[in-house]
Symmetry: D2
Subunit: 364 residues, 4 copies
C-alpha cells in the first residue's frame, strides 16, 4: 500500500513524482482565518535550494508554487488547501541502465519488490523532490505556530566528519550548508571538495530547536510527542536515526546527571537543565525542544558501483548528472517542516485534554 497522509487533525497528503507533470500537497484541517498567499509558501520552498553553490544542484524551473483552493480573499477558509508545483524539467531522455537496474543506496529495488515496477525517471516517488509537498505544508504549519509564538531554528550540525563548534544563528543563512559556524562551514566545503574529487558523497546531522512550545503537547501513550516527531523525521528519505535531547548519550549517563531538576524562576516552575530535550513522558514540558536527525550520504555517486539489473545480470554502474555531494543542507528545511507539522497537530489534539477548557471554549 501507500500512506501519503500525515497527521490526525492537521492532515497533509503529498503526491507527485520527480519527473511527472507536477508535485503537490493537500492540507486538510487548517483553521479558517489564516492570512495566506503563495509568497508565504515560496519562501520555504526556496530554502530547499541553498547557497546556489557547486554543492547543491538548482533546477532551472524554480519550483514555483500555486495555491488552487482553500484560500479566499487572502485568508484560509477552513477547507482543503491544494498546492501544486509543476515540473517544467520533464525533457524526455534516455535513462539507460537506471531504468532496468538497481542503484545501490536507492529505493529502486524495494519499489520493484513492493509494486512490481516503478517510475524510474529521476527516482520517481522516492526522489528528494517528494519533499516539496512536505515543505509547502510545513510553511502553513509554521505560519500558524508563529501566531502562538512558536519558532524554529534548524541547521546542519555536521557535514561528514566536520561538526560545528560554535553557534551563531545569523551565520546559518550565510553559507551554502546552513551551518551556524562560519569556520566549520569552510571546513565542510573543503571536505566536500575532496568528496567530489573522489566521486564520492557525504552525510551529516541536522539539528532542530523549537522554542515557545507550551507544556502539555503530546498524546500518551502512542501519540507521544517524541514518538510522532521521530516518525515524522524518520519518514524523510535519507534519515537513518533520530534523537531527542541528549539522545544516544543518555545510554551512558546516570540518573543523577540525566534527570532535569525543577526550580522556581520568576514565580514559574522551570527545569534547571534540559537533558530531556523539552519532552518528558512524551509530553512537552515548556522548555526548548531539541531534535537531531542523521542524514546518510547521497547515494548517487559517479564512481563505479557493483549492482545487478532487474533480470539478475551483474552490472558496474556509474551515475552521472546533477547530484549534490551532500543533501544535508537541503534536508534542513524538510526536517523543520516535518517538526512543524507534528507540533501543529499536537497543539490541536491537546485542546481536548481538560474538560474545563472544553467547556470554557464552548460557553464563551
Amino acid at each position: 500500500m501507500n500512506r501519503s497522509t500525515f497527521g490526525n487533525l492537521f492532515r497533509v497528503t503529498t503526491w507527485g513524482e520527480s519527473h511527472g507533470k507536477a508535485l503537490g500537497v493537500v492540507v486538510d484541517g487548517c483553521p479558517a482565518g489564516l492570512p495566506l498567499c503563495e509568497e508565504d509558501i515560496q519562501k520555504c520552498l526556496d530554502r530547499r535550494k541553498p547557497g546556489q553553490s557547486k554543492y547543491t544542484t538548482a533546477r532551472k524551473e524554480g519550483d514555483l508554487v500555486e495555491i488552487l483552493s482553500g484560500v479566499f480573499e487572502g485568508k484560509t477558509t477552513g477547507t482543503p488547501i491544494s498546492m501544486i508545483v509543476k515540473n517544467t524539467d520533464q525533457h524526455s531522455r534516455d535513462y539507460g541502465n537506471i531504468a532496468c537496474s538497481y542503484r545501490p543506496g536507492h529505493a529502486d529495488f524495494t519499489f520493484d519488490q513492493k509494486y512490481g515496477f516503478r517510475d524510474y525517471r529521476g527516482g520517481g516517488r522516492s526522489s528528494g523532490r517528494e519533499t516539496i509537498g512536505r515543505v509547502a505544508a510545513g510553511a502553513i504549519a509554521e505560519k500558524i505556530l508563529a501566531e502562538l509564538g512558536i519558532s524554529f531554528v534548524t541547521y546542519s550540525k555536521s557535514i561528514g566528519p566536520v561538526e560545528m563548534q560554535t553557534f551563531d544563528a545569523a551565520e546559518i543563512t550565510n553559507n551554502a550548508f546552513y551551518m551556524p559556524d562560519a569556520e566549520a562551514a569552510a571546513k565542510a566545503g573543503e571536505y566536500l571538495n575532496q568528496c567530489i574529487e573522489k566521486m564520492d558523497s557525504a552525510g551529516g546531522v541536522v539539528e532542530c530547536k523549537i522554542n515557545g512550545v507550551p507544556a502539555g503537547l503530546g498524546d500518551p501513550v502512542f501519540g507521544k510527542l517524541d514518538a510522532v516527531l521521530a516518525e515524522a523525521v524518520m519518514s524523510i528519505g535519507a534519515v537513518k536515526a533520530v534523537e531527542i535531547g541528549d539522545g544516544f548519550a543518555v545510554s551512558r549517563s546516570n540518573g543523577s546527571t540525566d534527570n532535569d531538576g525543577f526550580c522556581i524562576e520568576d514565580g514559574q516552575i522551570r527545569k534547571t537543565t534540559n537533558h530531556a530535550g523539552g519532552i518528558m513522558g512524551g509530553i512537552s514540558d515548556g522548555s526548548e525542544i531539541i531534535l537531531r536527525a542523521a542524514i546518510k550520504p547521497t547515494p548517487s555517486i559517479a564512481q563505479p558501483q557493483e549492482t545487478v539489473t532487474k533480470d539478475g545480470e551483474p552490472l558496474s554502474l556509474e551515475i552521472h548528472g546533477r547530484h549534490d555531494p551532500v543533501v544535508v543542507p537541503r534536508a534542513v528545511v524538510v526536517v523543520e517542516a516535518m517538526c512543524a507539522l507534528t507540533i501543529v497537530d499536537a497543539l490541536f489534539s491537546n485542546m481536548t485534554s481538560r474538560l474545563d477548557r472544553v467547556i470554557d471554549f464552548y460557553r464563551k
Copy 2:
C-alpha cells in the same frame, strides 16, 4: 488528548495505571484461526521480569494474564481480543511528597500540565507497567509472524558504558541483563553495583534484529517501515533515540561505503552489505532489519534531588522503595513487542500493493 491505540490494520489499544485495579489491552484486527492460549501471552510477560536478581524488582503478583474475548475453541475468531492483568499489589499507602511534587526525570510535571491533575500512585499511566499491554499484544504479533518465518533476536547491547564485545545468542537468557556476551554482562553487574552504592542509576542500548521479513513492507511516504518502527519504539517510556542500520554513523560515512551493492546469490538478488539495516526508501529489502534504541537511566534514585512541589515550593526529594538501577533488561521485550506490532501491521497493509495479487486473492 490521549492516543492509546497503535496500528492501522492490527490495532492495539492499551489501558491501565500502575496502581489501578488492572491493566490490559484490546487487540483488534487479528486474523481468525490463530491458535492462542494464555500461556502464549504469559511467556512474553514473564520476559519483563528478567533474572530475578538484585538489579530488577519483581512484583509478587506475577502479572498473570487472562484472555476475556476473541478466542473460541483455542483459536482466534477475528473479533477483538481483550486481555487483562489484575493489580494485586494495590495496598493503600502514604505517597508523601510524591503526590504533590514533581520527581525529576519523571512525567509528573507534564501530566499535571496536560491534564490538570494525575494519578500519582506509582506513576499512574506513565509507569513502566503500562508496557504490559504492549507486551501482551506483541506476543500475538510474534505468533503470527512466526507462522511466516519471521523471528526476532533482541538484547541489551550496552548497559551504561559497558558494551557487548561478542555475540552469543544462547547467552542472552543466561544473565540478568539479556546481554549476548557473558563477560560484558559480568562487567555490567559490577558497574550497576557501583551505581547502587552511589544511589544512582544507569541507561543502555537495546538492539533488535528481525529475520525473515519479506521485501516490500512499508508504506511510502508517511508509513515507511523505518518511520513507523521509530514511532513505535520511541513511544516506549525511557527511549530517547532510535536508529536503523548504521544509524548515526551514516552521518560520518561516504556514499561509496554506505551504499549497499547488489549481487546474485543462489539465483536470487541479494545485497552485498547491510548498512541500511534492511530498509531502503522506507521499504524492507529482504535482509535483516536492525534497530537500536537508547534507554535513559532510571529516573527514580535514592540520592536527594532538587525539585519543587506543585504549589511551587522548593523541595529536596529522596525516592526510596523498589526501583531497578537500570530498566534496559526489562525494555528488551518491550522493544521487541513494538517492533513485532509494527511488522505485522506493515505485512497486512502490504497485501494491497499490487493489483494482480489482490485479484489472485479473491479469484481463488
Copy 3:
C-alpha cells in the same frame, strides 16, 4: 478484518462476545476532570432492560459494570477508561443445530464466510450484547454533553404498524416500549401479543432528538455530521435505514416547502422551520437534531424456518429460548449512545475550525 473502534478524538473500542467471560469497552480521549462513577454508567446500562415485561428478556446477572482505569479520586484523568461487564450466565449447554447451521436473519452465515468459523454461543460477537460497550461509553459521552447543555430525548416512534400519535416525554419511561404515547404503547402491546401467539416478531422505528447542539459541528465533506450519525446508527445490529429531519419525505417534497427560511428571533438568527433536522451542508445549524432509525424484527422466532447447515444440508430450524418479540425498546438507548458518541467527537473536532479561537485557547 475487524473494526471495533469508533470516533477520532473521543474513541471507543468495544470487545466481547455474548457468552464469553465478559464484555467491555475502552474509552480513549475523554478529557480529564469529568466526575465519573460506576453508577453513572449503570443507569444507562439499566435502560437496556426496559419494563421487565414479557416483551423483553432480562438476564439475571444484571449486567453490572466495573471501571478498571482512567478514573482517580472520582474524576477522569484523561487516560483510557476501561469498563467491564462480566458474563455470569455462561452455563455450558447444548447449542444443537445452531452451532452448525445458519439461522435466517442472523449473521451466522456471513461470519463463517468472513472468518472461517465463529463463536456460535448466543450469536457471539454479533449478539445484541455487543451493545453493552456502546451504551457504557455513551453514558460518558452524555455526561460530557450535559455539561454543555446538550440533551437527548429518544423513544420508540413505532412498533410494527403501531405508530405514536401524541408526544408526552413523561410517558416514555412509563411503558415497556419507551413510547411517548400511552395509547400507542397499549396498542403495541396487543400487537406483540399477536406476534407471540404466531411465534413471530416485529420491528419498529426509534427516533432521537438532540437539543442544545451548537451550530458549527460536523466536518465537511466526509466527516459531515449527518454522515457520521448515519454510520454510527447503521452500525447497530438491527438497523436497516437512517434518516435525518424529513428524511425520505424530502424526495417527494419541493424546494419551496423543504427549504428552512431564516428570521431574527430575540436578536438571534433562527430558522423558521426545521425540515433539515438541524443539519445543513453536513454542519449543525443550532436547531434540534432529529434522527430516525428503522429496526428490523427480531430474527429469532420459534416457528420453523427453512435453512441449511454449514455442510449444505437442508434443515427446518425452530429457535426456542429467551427471545424478545421486538428489540426496538432495547435499541432506544443504543441509538442514543451512538448519537452521543458522534456529537462529542464532532464537538471536539470543531475546536480547531477557526484560527482566532485556537489562538484564544492557547493565549489564555
Copy 4:
C-alpha cells in the same frame, strides 16, 4: 475542522471550490498495475452531465480531467494518483445578496457559523461541484472492482412523486433522468415542467444495486459494510436518508417475512430471498447489495424566500441563474462512486480476516 479524506486503505482526498482555480482529488492506496488513462475518468465525469436537457445545467468547460501523478507507462504505480479539473468558468461577477445573506436550504449559514466566513462564489466548497473529486476517484474504484466481476446499476427510482414502475436497464441512459422506465421518465419531465413554471424544484430517490460482491466484506462492529455505505452516501450534499435492502419497510414487517432463508442451489449455499439487501450483520452475504438514498429538492429556486443577511437584516431573496430543478439525475453517478469507494476499501480490508489466507498470500 475539515475531513476531506474517505477510506482507510483506498483513501480519497478531495479538494476545491465551485469557483476556485480548480477542483481535484488525490487517490492514495491504489494498487500498482491497474491500466488507467484520463478517458477512464472522463467517462464517469461525463455522467454528471446527463441528458443535455433543460432540466440540467451544463457548464461549457466540460470538466476535463488531467492525471498528474501515480500513473507511468499507462499503469498505476502504487503511488498517489492526483487528478485535477480546472475551472474555466471563473468570470468575476456580482454575487449581490448571496455574498452577504443566507440562502434557505443551503450551507451558507452553517459554514459561516463554523468557519467565521466563507467563499460565497457558487456555494464554494458546499457546491455540488465538490463531487467531481468523488466521481473521478470512484471511476478508479469501479475499474478495480470490474476486474473482480463486481458491477453497478444505479438510477433514479423516483423524481418527486413519480416513481418508476418497471425496470429496463437499457432505458437508464435513454432519458434525461437516468430512469429505467421510459414512461415514468416522461411523467417526471411533465412534473418538472410544472416545477419550473412554479419557480420550484423537486427531489427524488436514487437506487444503487451492486452485483458480484463476494461474501465476507465489512468489518464489525464499527466498519460494518452497511454502516460505511450509509456514511459514504449520506456525505453527499443533498442526501437526507439512506436505506439498505427493505430499509424502512422492515419496521412494519415481521421476522417470518423479513428473515432471508437459506437453501442449496447448484451446490452452493444461497439465500431464498434478499430482504437484507445483501448485508447480514454488517457483512456482505454474496447476494445483490441494494441501497437507496433520498435526495432533497434543489434549494436554489427563483421564487422569493424569506431569509436574513449575515448582519441580521430580513431579506426576501430570489435566486436566479443556472439551477437544475432537480439534482437527482446528477446524483446517480455520485451515489455509485461513493458505493464503489466503500466496496473497494472493504475488499482490501477483508484480506486479513483469516490467518490461513494471509499465510497463503505470503508463502506463494
